[in-house]
C-alpha cells in the first residue's frame, strides 16, 4: 500500500472534489455518561473517548465496531442529539459542538440521521406523507410545487410508491419503513447523513437493496456519509474509508482497500476474519475473539484491546498505543505490535494465546 494517512490524503488528489476543507472534522470527541448511585456521582461510562476523524464532501466513512463500543453515541453527538463531554465538531467550517437549537437550525438541515430501528423511528400515528414532510414543516419550508409534490418526489427517490403517502407505517414492511426514514432524512437536502446501522434490523434479503439504494443516493446527490455498522461485511462496497472502533476509541482508520486487504490492528483482523469469504483468502483460518468486551465504566489500562488480544504483552498494559502511521502502512493504527502482510495470515508474535 502506498503511504497515505488520512491526514495527508487530500494531497494525493485524483478525485478533484475531495480537495479542500473537510466537511466534518471531529477532534477529541468524548462522551462520558455519569453513573449515579443515589445522589452522588459514581464514576462514568466512558462511551466515547477521544475520537479524531474527518469526512470530506461526498465521502463515505464507515464506523465499525462491536455492539456497545460507542458508535451510536458518536453518531448522535454528530447530529447534536447528544451533548459531547469534550472535544469539538466542526461542520462546514463552523464549530457546532455546543450550539443551541436556533444557532444550529441552518446547519442541522445539512446534517441528518437515519436510525437503526425502522419500527421505533417512525411515528405510528402519522401518515407517511406527514412523516416525510415533518422536516419541511418544522423548518417552515415550502418547496416549489408544494409539500405534497416534494414528498411524492422523495418517496419515488427512495423507491416507494408515491401514491402511498396517505398510508401509515404499520402498513409497510421493515425495508419499506427504512426507505421512509431515508426519505425523511433527504427532505432537507442534507450534505452529510449519519446512518446508524440502517440495515442491521432488516432481513438479510432486504439489506442489500437498502444498501444499494443508499449507495445510489450517495452518488447521485453527492452525499457524505458516516455509515455505522457492527461488522465489516455490510459496508465493504459502500465506504471510501473505514474507522474501526473498540471501547470508545478508534483503533484503526484508513482507506477501504487498506483496511480490508492489509489491516494492521489485531482487532481489525479479527473483525475481518468474521466475514465468511475473507477467511478463504488466507490459510490461517478464522480468528475467534474470546472473552467479553470489558465495561466502558472501567476500561483496561494501556491498550483497551489487551484483554482479548493474542499478542498482548506487559508493554500493552502500561502504555497506551497512539493512533499513528505504523510500518509505512497506509492507515493509522493504535497498536504497539502492528500486523503486517495481507489479510488472513495473522502473525503470532509476542505472547501468542487465543487463536483457533
Amino acid at each position: 500500500m502506498n503511504g497515505v494517512t488520512n491526514g495527508q490524503a487530500a494531497v494525493a488528489g485524483d478525485a478533484g472534489r475531495l480537495a479542500g476543507e473537510p466537511l466534518l472534522s471531529v477532534r477529541g470527541l468524548t462522551k462520558h455518561f455519569p453513573v449515579r448511585q443515589g445522589l452522588r456521582a459514581r464514576g462514568a461510562v466512558r462511551a466515547v473517548d477521544g475520537l479524531d476523524f474527518d469526512v470530506r464532501p461526498g465521502e463515505t466513512l464507515g464506523l465499525v465496531g462491536e455492539s456497545g463500543c460507542g458508535k451510536t453515541t458518536t453518531g448522535r453527538m454528530l447530529v447534536r442529539l447528544l451533548e459531547p463531554t469534550s472535544g469539538s465538531i466542526m461542520f462546514a467550517g463552523r464549530d457546532i459542538t455546543h450550539g443551541g437549537r436556533r444557532e444550529l437550525r441552518a446547519l442541522r438541515q445539512d446534517l441528518q440521521i437515519i436510525f437503526q430501528d425502522p419500527y421505533a423511528s417512525l411515528n405510528p400515528r402519522h401518515t407517511v406523507g406527514r412523516i416525510v414532510a415533518m422536516p419541511l414543516q418544522v423548518n417552515r419550508i415550502t418547496p416549489p410545487g408544494g409539500v405534497k409534490k416534494r414528498v411524492q418526489e422523495l418517496l419515488e427517490l427512495v423507491g416507494l410508491n408515491p401514491e402511498h403517502y396517505n398510508r401509515y407505517p404499520h402498513e409497510f414492511s421493515g425495508g419499506q419503513r427504512q426507505r421512509i426514514g431515508i426519505a425523511r432524512a433527504l427532505a432537507l437536502k442534507p450534505k452529510l447523513i449519519v446512518a446508524d446501522e440502517p440495515v442491521s434490523a432488516l432481513d438479510v434479503s432486504i439489506q442489500a437493496q437498502v444498501i444499494n439504494l443508499l449507495r445510489d443516493l450517495q452518488r447521485d446527490l453527492d452525499l457524505a456519509f458516516v455509515f455505522i455498522a457492527h461488522d465489516l461485511a455490510v459496508i465493504r462496497h459502500f465506504c471510501h474509508r473505514v474507522a474501526v472502533m473498540y471501547l470508545g476509541k478508534i483503533v484503526e482508520i484508513g482507506d477501504r482497500d487498506t483496511i480490508y486487504t492489509r489491516p494492521q490492528h489485531p482487532y481489525t483482523r479479527a473483525l475481518l476474519s468474521a466475514i465468511p469469504d475473507v477467511t478463504t483468502l488466507g490459510p490461517a483460518g478464522r480468528i475467534r475473539l474470546t472473552g467479553d468486551v470489558p465495561t466502558p465504566l472501567n476500561p483496561p489500562s494501556g491498550c483497551r484491546f489487551r484483554t482479548r488480544c493474542w499478542k498482548a504483552t506487559d508493554h500493552c498494559a502500561t502504555e497506551e498505543p497512539a493512533l499513528t502511521t505504523r510500518d509505512d502502512g497506509g492507515q493509522l493504527t493504535a497498536c504497539h505490535y502492528p500486523e503486517s502482510g495481507p489479510v488472513g495470515v495473522p502473525t503470532g508474535e509476542p505472547g501468542s494465546n487465543e487463536r483457533t
Binding site: 440521521i113 471510501h240 474509508r241 477501504r256
Partner: protein
Amino acid sequence: MSDLSHPPPRTPAADATISVPEIQAGPEPAGRAAEFVGRSPNQLAWLRLKRDRTARASALTLLVAAVVALGAPLLGRLTGIDPTDKFVDRLNDFGMPIGYAGGISSDHWLGLEPGSGRDILMQLVYGLRTSLFIAFTSALLASCIGVAVGVLAGWARGWLDSLVNWLIDLTLAFPFLIFALAVIPILQDRFYSDREAPSPAFRVALIVATFGLFSWTYTARLVRGQVISLREREFVDAARAAGAGTAHILLRQLLPNIWAPILVTVSLMVPQFIAIEAALAFVNIGVTEPTPDLGRMIFNSIGYVASDPWYTLFPGLTIFLLVLAFNLLGDALRDSLDPRSTR
C-alpha cells in the same frame, strides 16, 4: 494498486451493484402493503370497536341516555309537565300516590313521588342531565389537569418530576369522601350565610371542582409514563434532529400517541363520578333542591322503600345502567386500542 486518494477511484468491483455473498438480494415482500387500504391505528381501533357487541349495546344505552338528557325540556313540553310541578291531588291523605305501582298512569308514566307529588319521569330525566353534566365536566377538568401535569413531569424530569410524584402521592393519600364531607359545607358557609339557600350552580361548581382536584392523579401518572417512554423513541429524535422545538414534539409527535389511553381514562372516570355524585347526594352534600338529581332521589326514596319501592327502583336502575354501560364501553375501548393488536 494506485489508489492514493480517498475515496478510491471507482473500481469495477465497487461500481457493480453490490452482490456480497453474505448479503443476498431478494425481492422485498410487496404483497403485504397491498392488503391494507390506508387505515390509521385509530381507524383500526374504531373498526374493532364497531365489531364488539357489548360496546355496541352500551353505546346505544348511553346514546339513549344522552338524547333523553339533552331532550329533557322537549319531553317536558310534550307531556306538559315541569319537573317542579306538584300533583298533590293525586296523592292520598298519607302522601302516597293513588293507584298501582307508585301511581303509574297515562299522565305519569313512572308514577309520582310520595310526599311531594312530583312526576318521577321528569325528575329522572332532569336528574340524568345533572348527573351527566357533573360527571362529564369533572372528567374533562380532571383530564386537563392530569394531562398538563403528566406532560410537564414526564418532559421535565428531574426535581419537577419528583415534586409532581410527591403531589400525586399526597393527593392519593387524602381520603376523598371525608374531604368532600368536610370541605363542601365549610366552603358553602364561607360564601352563604345560614339564612340564604346556596344557589344550585354553586353546589354543582363545588362538586365539579372537588372531583377535578382529586381525580387528575391517575391521568397524570398515565401521561407521565407515556411521555417518558415515548420521548426516548427514535421518531422523537428524528424530529429533534430536523430542528423541531419542544412544542412540536409534545403536540405533534407525542400527543397523537397518548390521546387514545386518555380517552379510555375519561370513559372510565365518568361512571365513577356518576356513582360518587349520587353518593354525595345520598349523604346530603350533593346537589341541592330544586335541581333534580338521581342520588338525591334515592336518598329521598329510602324513607318510602317499604310502602313505595318503585320510587327507589327507577333512579336506582337508571344509575346502575348508566354506570354499567360506561364501564363496559370503557373496557371495550381499551381493548380495541390495545397496542399489541395494532402492529
